[in-house]
Structure formats: structure tokens, C-alpha cells
Symmetry: C2
Subunit: 540 residues, 2 copies
């Protein structure tokens, strides 16, 4: 009875196709003095798709991008999936060993990398058995001549003529894998399907109020949950992407003025850097909407940004929920709130995004809803179109994370009587430092490899600049004499620098009767009464 | 590999569930002095669902509503589908015979009707073999005591306690059937699936710029394509529905002011009635967005509404495309257009809505795209999520309308070089005079420029020499005295002489509920039995 023509997949690629048809001559992406119109972006994406196919990439193959927020990274959000392949956008701050794990675990066939990261590729290139081609994007760093493979522009030029689009078999096919540290040491590959990505982008358009005149500034890395799906949302609405290679408050503020930026995203630390900058003096940010996440915006942050005219929206989610899952939706009665009441209201993580429907609960250990009393602590659980299909090649963790049919965020929250959640704590072994997730277990495992270490426990401790930083409590082996500096540089050689502990102390560890380290005792020592930290979308 | 939790149907019912969770105390619907909050609306819908189930309605059953734009009609857009049943919203202006056909063809089990239409029900009630229950909504007309069955409020009260929601088997299940006259005599039942309705609503939110503060005035009948899916869109965004039993320009203008209406829809004739009303004097319509369709808004209509401050968006579609399928999207370069250039640009039907992707073409008889030259006439064809699944119990017409895999609109258009379509006529509204094609719309646009003309409709009438010639039916402005000769020479000065009407009469125009001119009535007067029509979204 149903006509077959309904079969029009929800796929972000359709957004680019429509916008290149409706807005062919409109700027799609601006990067310094470079502008591509939607027709040009579409053509470049088509060439990328064709070049990938020509290089042997077929439906379902993984293509890794190690590229900052420049146009090539945006193109990477359409080219692979246009032929049914899968984007693996790699965090550019990771250490070589982590990149190696991600490339090999994902089985990526091709790596597109920016010359800035040539040294990582140089170190790795003989340890990547599945990789058949390295493509080098030359932008601000010189071409690394010793690394074989075409540069990106030559690669695009190699595409055969014609259109290279292929339909997915199902809109639940994976189009992106985003690696996240999660609670275990090794990054897990969070799979996004086309349907979820499409709907999350529709949700961002609606919740952040994007329209065809919008100009979106790329302060949030595209490798974080595909830029909270704004890569697809801004393209869908026919807005303009303003690329930004490196986050710098002076650049941000001048681009906002020069380009007429209407939207941007970032953790509160990005906002702090903006209003603390001397360039903030006299800035008029009316017409700018900022979606912030990663931590609740403190009253002083809200006041500072809003006194400059900006609108701040507070969202929350995880890599497993395509970035944002909840929005702290404003209410009519808030219009009469005092600044203090408003700051309190806005500090909560809120309610599900429109496309997330009612797919969020706060539950106890038996998966029963906790009372909506603003008091009882429970775990935030999600399900629906806005939740990943599972971890790539990791049935065990997938099943574990979906116990009881809901995704377990590991974040602890109370549920207020108005249905808004407020995060109180989270999986205790995750440290958020400057917006990046650090698994304390991963740091612990690394330190344990040091021959002089008997035992170790790592927690996050307060830090004025980064919010929190890792601190290691080390029990030395008998007779070993190790220094703090030694532990720190040992880590810096093995994992991303930002994951290395900033502080190290030596001594015994507090333990339970069964021998489990009592991290909360260490935490209480370090934090005292200070608020503990919470988690936001895409924090790695 | 995919986790099962993805399985979250796209279903408009999810919109109400989320809004009642996020905005429980916010006004969902206002009707005169009556207001229901979202929590109340959800509870009433739940009771409607429970009462229907209690009355024997099961998944897939049809439930007919013959109710004007009052809260019960809005509730009808959620209650049946909450238990997987199908809404048949019947045009309240139809003749008894047509209602009989719709009820019996759809096999509706239950009819919910407003007492105003008691006489129709009285005439019909013994000719409806499938109907097991009549439910009477008592509002402005007295209760018809001779018609058996509970009144609507008693019916709601009969619902068993508890939640009555049932999941669909598939999001492609039909949730609404909208009967449309089409080109044949008997109305055909256009089937909407949950997925299409959900996505069309998302599209309306985005394209018309709805947000949580929006207040939508119900000038467009909800029985037309389910109110172009604004029934679901406004609910989804958590806006407020302002109900309006009868379209009257004075009521419209006063509600806009009193309620702070931000959005409404209507054919250009509704706009004409607004600015021609004495109540329009001094009206400030800034902040009001109007989506108009059914005919291109004439320059004078745009000028009049925009001089009052309103923003007019021009959309186009059919019942078969959930209402709007294209939007005349504004472009950056239009910012520098003169009023004349702007009126020309805005008179085109435009490009597909965001959720319609690129599912529209203008094709010749062999299903090849016509050139994008703004000259070559072709038929508008659509496909995708925004197109019906088929006509209910009518394989033959379904197959015919989807010949070649695309839905055939029957509308003739040219395709401009920028991808915008411009409707020239219905196939049957083209006047062929002495072998030359004349677009009746072009003649109408010309006549509308005459300062003494309020409204006009042009059709072809029999002529011995030319086969047919254009005839104009003119509604003069109050106080204007114009002659037929004056209209004819006005046209001869502006368009090809053969396109100028040969005959002009003055008087009122027959119209549909949305205010669209019923050309077939004029045509029947002139030609006898030949039945044709012009079509826009929701034309019945």
C-alpha cells in the first residue's frame, strides 16, 4: 500500500545537496581570505567522494581525518558519507600512541592529515597495516616531503568526472565514528548513524535558532561529536561556516565583528577567555548566540557575556548522544527572574532537545526513576534517535552501557520538580581539563608502567586555568627513588601532554577493607567544599 | 551491531509528550476565555485516546472529526494517533453527499462532530454502516438532542484511568487521511504517515521561524492538510495555539493585537480581507509572520501587508505533499531589490523545504527535466518524505499519480535559472486560444494591478472563432466604478493583445474554506459539465 517513494533517507548529505541547489552562490565556508560558495563546497565534496572511491574506498570503509577547523575538515563531514563511507575525525591533541590505537581499531583505510601533524604520521606510518593512502592537507605548515601520498588538493583533482553519490542501505548505517576515552583506558569508537546525525542537526537548527542568514564561528573542534553536529546543521540551513584554525580570544572577537558572527559554541572556559581578553573592551555582542556546555556557566560568566549583549544557552550531553542531549530551555516565568534567580535557573542542564523527545531519565540502580525532588541523586540515562547505535567492534562495552535498554551516561544528577536535571557528579574517574576528558584509569595505567611504581591513584584537582588537572598519588616500590618530574615526563612521552599529571605526591593510599582505593577521600582532601565538576557534550 | 534503542519513531505524538514535560504550565491552546496548558492538553488527549480505545477503536481504525478550529479539533490531531488510529479531518464546508462518501470510503468507526453540523449528521446517520458511535462537541450551537451518543466532554470523562499510548508498528503507518477532490469527481483519501507528518512539522518550525514564544493563530482550517502540519509544529516547539472558530478579518486583527500573535497562515484572499478591513487602520503587524499559499501573493498584497509590518512567506504544495512542499526562500541579494523586483521574486513558488531535500523537479511528458530557462513549461513532480504514501484504498489512482516514481502534481510551471519554480497554471487552467497558450494567472496578475480591482479570477470560455478566450470575473474595490472596456484596454496596454480578456463581469467570487477561488464553479457556469480546478496546498 505504501508507495516506494517515501524511501528518502535521513542523511546529512541531503542537507548539502539542497543548500547547493537553493543557495549555490552564497558563502558556505569562509577561512581567512578564502571563501567557497555552496556550489563550490558541493563540488569539492563530490571530488573528495570521487577521489576516495577512486582510491578504493567502498561503502562502510573508514576514512580518518586529523585536521583542525579548516575547510578540509568540513569537507570531511560530507565526502566519505556521500559514498556510504565512515568519517573518523581524530582529536588533534592526542598522543601518537592514542592515534595509533584509533586508526588501527577503526581500520581506517585512508588518513587525511594536516601537515602540522606530520610528525605523528611519520612516527606511525609503519604501524598502520590497514592504511593504504596518506593524504596531506598543506595549510599553515610546510609540506612534509618525506611522507608519501598526494596533497589534498591534488587528491581532489584526481577525482573522475561526474557525480559520485551513493545511497546508504539503511539510514541506520554508521556514517561517523567518534573516539572517546570514556571510563576505561582505551578510547571507544562511538558510532553515529545517518538518521541520528540528521535529526541532531535539525535539533540544533531549532534549539539554537539558526536561520539562512546565520554565520557560525568554529570555536568548538569539529572532531568533538562532529562539532555537536553543527557541521551538518549550519550546512542544512544554508548558513555560513566561519573556520578558525586555532582558538584565540582576540581572533574570535575580531571575527565576530568582521564577519557578523551569529552563533558559536564553547565550554565556559572559552567564554572566560573572551571576556577576560583586553579585546573585549567595548565589544557589542548583540545578535550572538552562544551554546555552552562542559560545565554550567557560572553567574559571573553569564553576566559578563550577557552584559556584552550575547545570548548564552546551556546544553549538556556526551559523545554517545551526538553531543547535546539536553537544553536548559528558558520559560515564560523566567522573564521576571532576578539575575541571581536566572543564573541559578540557567546553571541546570535542563530537558531533552526537541528531537530527543522524552528519551532521558534519572534512575537509581534498579532503573527506577528517582523522585523529582531536586535532592535524590541518580544516574542520567538516555535512549532514542539521539543516542549512538553502539561502540564500534565492542559488543561488551555496548551491552554494558545499554543495560536495561537505556544508555548509561555515568553522570550523576538530581531531577528537579520542573523536570530539569542538574548534574552533581559523574563517573568518578573522569577528569575534565580545559574541556577535554581525561580517563584517570588511562593515566594510572601509564604510570603503572614505570618500573619504580607499586601503586597509583589519579584524581582531578582544582586548577585556576584548566578547571581541573590530574594529580597522581604514587606508592613507590621499596628501594625505588622516583621524583615527581620523572613521573610527569614519563607520562608526557606516552600520552597526550594534557593528560599527564600536573602534580604528583608519594605516600600510602586510603583503602577499603577489600583493598579498593577510596578516591573520595583523596578528592575531599583536595577539593574541600569546592563544587565538583561536571561533564558536557563532546568532552573527551 | 546496532543497539535496539534507536527505535524511537518519528511520530507527532512525541511532540506533545515532550512539550507537556518541558512546558506543563504554559498555555498550549487559547480559545476565547478558555486556556489549556500543555499538561492539560496532554491529559485531555490521553483521555480522548482512552475513550476511543474504550469505544472499540484499535490500531489502524479511522476516526472522523467534523469540527472547526476549536480545541477539540486540535485534540483530534493527537488522540487517535496516540493509540495508532487514523484521523480523518473532514472539511466542514462539504455537502452532505461528500461527507457520506468520505465517512464510508474511509470506513470511520467513530465520528466526532460539532453541533453546528448536526443537520448533516442527522441526514446521514442511517447511511453510515461502519460508524458505531457519534460524539457531539457542543460549543456555540445547542446540543442536538435527537442525535444519539455522548457529548465530547462526557466522552473524555469516560476514559479509563492511566496512560493509553500505543507504539506504532512502523513510522510509515498512516496516522491521518485527508480527502481531496483532486481532478476526479470523488474525493480521494491522501494518506499521511507518522514520519512524514513529523518531518513536515520540523520543516514548518524551521522555515517559518517558530520558537517557544510563538503564538499561532488558526486562520487556516485544521482540516486542510492538518493545518499544513502546524497542528504538530506549534505543539512541537511548545508555542501557543490561538483557536478561531470562524475566519473574520476583524477578529483576526484584534486577536493579533490582544494575544500577540506571531504566526498565521492563509491564502492571499485572507490577507486581502485583512488589509481591506476598516479595522486595519493603524494596525502594527511587526513581529507577525504569515505563510501564504494557494496563489502567488500579488505585489499589491505584499505591499499592503508589509507596509503594516508583517513578513509574508510564500509557500506552495498540495494535500498530497502534507501541504507546503516549496518555500520562496529569500536570498542575500534580495536585500537590495526594489519593491517591484522583490514582488516579482516573491511571486515565485520557490524551492523545496529543508525536509523535502531535493525531491522536486519540473518535467516534460517523458519525465525529463525541462531546461531551467524560465520559459519551458513542465509538470511539477515530487517525491520523498514530504509526499503521501498513497491514496487510501485506491491503488489505481496511486499508481497513476506516481507514474515514473515521482508524484505528479498536475501543476504546470517553468523552472528559473536559480532553481525556483514558477507556477503558470493547473494543466486545466491554461487557456488555449487560437493555438496560443495563455496563463490565466498572468492575466489575473495584470488585472490586479488596476487600482479599482480588489480581486479577480480568469478562466477560458468557449469562443466560436478562437476555441476559447479569457474571461475575467472581477471584484471591484468599494466605491470604485470600473467598466469592462477599461479592464480590457488596461490589459492590452500591458500584455499581448490575445491574452487580454474578451469578456469581463463584475460580482463576487465562489470560494473554498481557505478562501481559494473555486474556478470550477465559474467554469461550470460557462461550459456546462466540464469539471476542473486550480490547486494549492489543501485545496479541496
Amino acid at each position: 500500500m505504501h508507495n516506494e517513494v517515501w524511501n528518502d533517507h535521513l542523511n546529512p548529505v541531503a542537507f548539502l545537496e539542497r543548500s547547493s541547489f537553493v543557495y549555490p552562490d552564497k558563502p558556505a565556508v569562509v577561512y581567512g581570505s578564502l571563501t567557497y560558495t555552496y556550489a563550490q563546497l558541493h563540488e569539492r565534496v563530490n571530488r573528495l567522494a570521487g577521489a576516495l572511491r577512486n582510491a578504493g574506498v567502498v561503502k562502510g570503509d573508514r576514512v580518518a581525518f586529523i585536521v583542525p577547523n579548516i575547510p578540509a575538515m568540513l569537507e570531511g563531514h560530507f565526502g566519505p558519507m556521500a559514498i556510504g563511507a565512515v568519517l573518523v575525525a581524530v582529536n588533534t591533541r592526542l598522543a601518537t600512541r592514542e592515534v595509533e590505537h584509533i586508526i588501527n581499531h577503526s581500520g581506517a583505510k585512508i588518513i587525511v592529515f594536516d601537515s602540522e601533524y606530520a610528525s605523528t604520521i611519520r612516527d606511525l606510518k609503519d604501524k598502520l597495516p590497514n592504511v593504504t593512502l596518506l593524504v596531506q592537507v598543506v595549510d599553515t605548515s610546510p609540506h612534509a616531503d618525506d611522507i608519501p601520498g598526494p596533497d589534498y588538493e591534488t587528491f581532489l583533482a584526481s577525482a573522475p568526472e561526474g557525480q559520485h553519490r551513493e545511497q546508504l542501505d539503511s539510514e541506520l548505517d554508521t556514517i561517523a565514528i567518534n573516539y572517546t576515552s570514556g571510563t576505561t583506558g582505551l578510547p571507544k569508537g562511538v558510532q553515529y548513524h545517518a538518521r541520528g546525525a540528521y535529526l541532531a542537526a535539525m535539533g540544533e537548527i531549532i534549539e539554537s535558532g539558526l536561520n539562512w542568514r546565520s554565520k557560525y564561528l568554529w570555536t568548538l573542534p569539529m572532531f568533538h561529536c562532529n562539532g555537536w553536529c553543527f557541521t551538518w546543521a549550519v550546512t542544512g540551513i544554508g548558513g555560513t561556516h566561519i573556520c578558525l584554525r586555532r582558538v584565540d580570544p582576540i581572533d574570535i572577537l575580531s571575527l565576530i565583528t568582521e564577519q557578523g558572527v551569529t552563533h558559536m559554541c564553547g565550554a565556559p572556559t572559552v567564554l572566560i577567555s573572551m571576556y577576560s581578553s583586553p579585546a573585549a573592551e567595548g565589544q557589542d555582542l548583540r545578535g550572538l548566540t552562544i551554546v555552552t556546555a562542559g560545565a554550567p556557566p557560572a553567574p559571573v560568566v553569564l553576566r559578563a557575556m550577557e552584559s556584552m549583549g550575547a545570548t548564552v544557552l546551556h546544553a549538556y550531553g556526551l559523545t554517545e548522544t551526538y553531543g547535546p542531549h539536553t537544553m536548559c530551555e528558558p520559560q515564560l516565568e523566567w522573564d521576571s527572574y532576578s539575575p541571581t534567580e536566572m543564573a541559578l535557573a540557567k546553571s541546570r542542564q535542563g530537558v531533552p532537545y526537541i528531537q530527543a523527545h522524552t528519551g532521558m531519565r534519572v534512575v537509581d540502580e534498579r532503573m527506577q526513576d528517582v523522585p523529582l525532588d531536586g535532592q535524590t541523586l541518580g544516574e542520567v540515562a538516555m535512549r532514542g534517535n539521539n543516542v549512538m547505535s553502539g561502540y564500534y567492534n565492542d559488543i561488551e562495552n555496548t551491552n554494558k552501557s545499554f543495560a536495561g535498554g537505556w544508555f548509561h551516561s555515568g553522570d550523576l544528577a538530581v531531577w528537579h520538580s520542573n523536570g530539569y536535571i542538574e548534574l552533581k557528579d559523574r563517573a568518578k574517574d573522569i577528569i575534565i581539563s580545559g574541556g577535554e576528558n581525561i580517563s584517570s584509569q588511562e593515566v594510572e595505567k601509564t604510570i603503572m608502567e614505570h618500573p619504580g611504581v607499586l601503586e597509583v591513584s589519579v584524581i582531578g584537582v582544582p586548577d585556576d586555568k584548566w578547571g581541573e588537572v590530574p594529580k597522581a598519588f604514587v606508592v613507590s616500590r621499596d628501594g625505588a627513588s622516583i621524583t615527581a618530574d620523572e613521573i610527569i615526563s614519563f607520562c608526557q612521552d606516552r600520552i597526550a601532554r594534557f593528560k599527564a599529571p600536573k602534580h604528583v605526591t608519594f605516600g600510602n593510599l586510603p583503602k577499603t577493607a577489600t583493598g579498593k582505593v577510596q578516591k573520595y577521600i583523596l578528592r575531599n582532601q583536595e577539593w574541600g567544599n569546592q563544587q565538583t565538576r561536571i561533564q558536557g557534550p563532546g568532552a573527551k
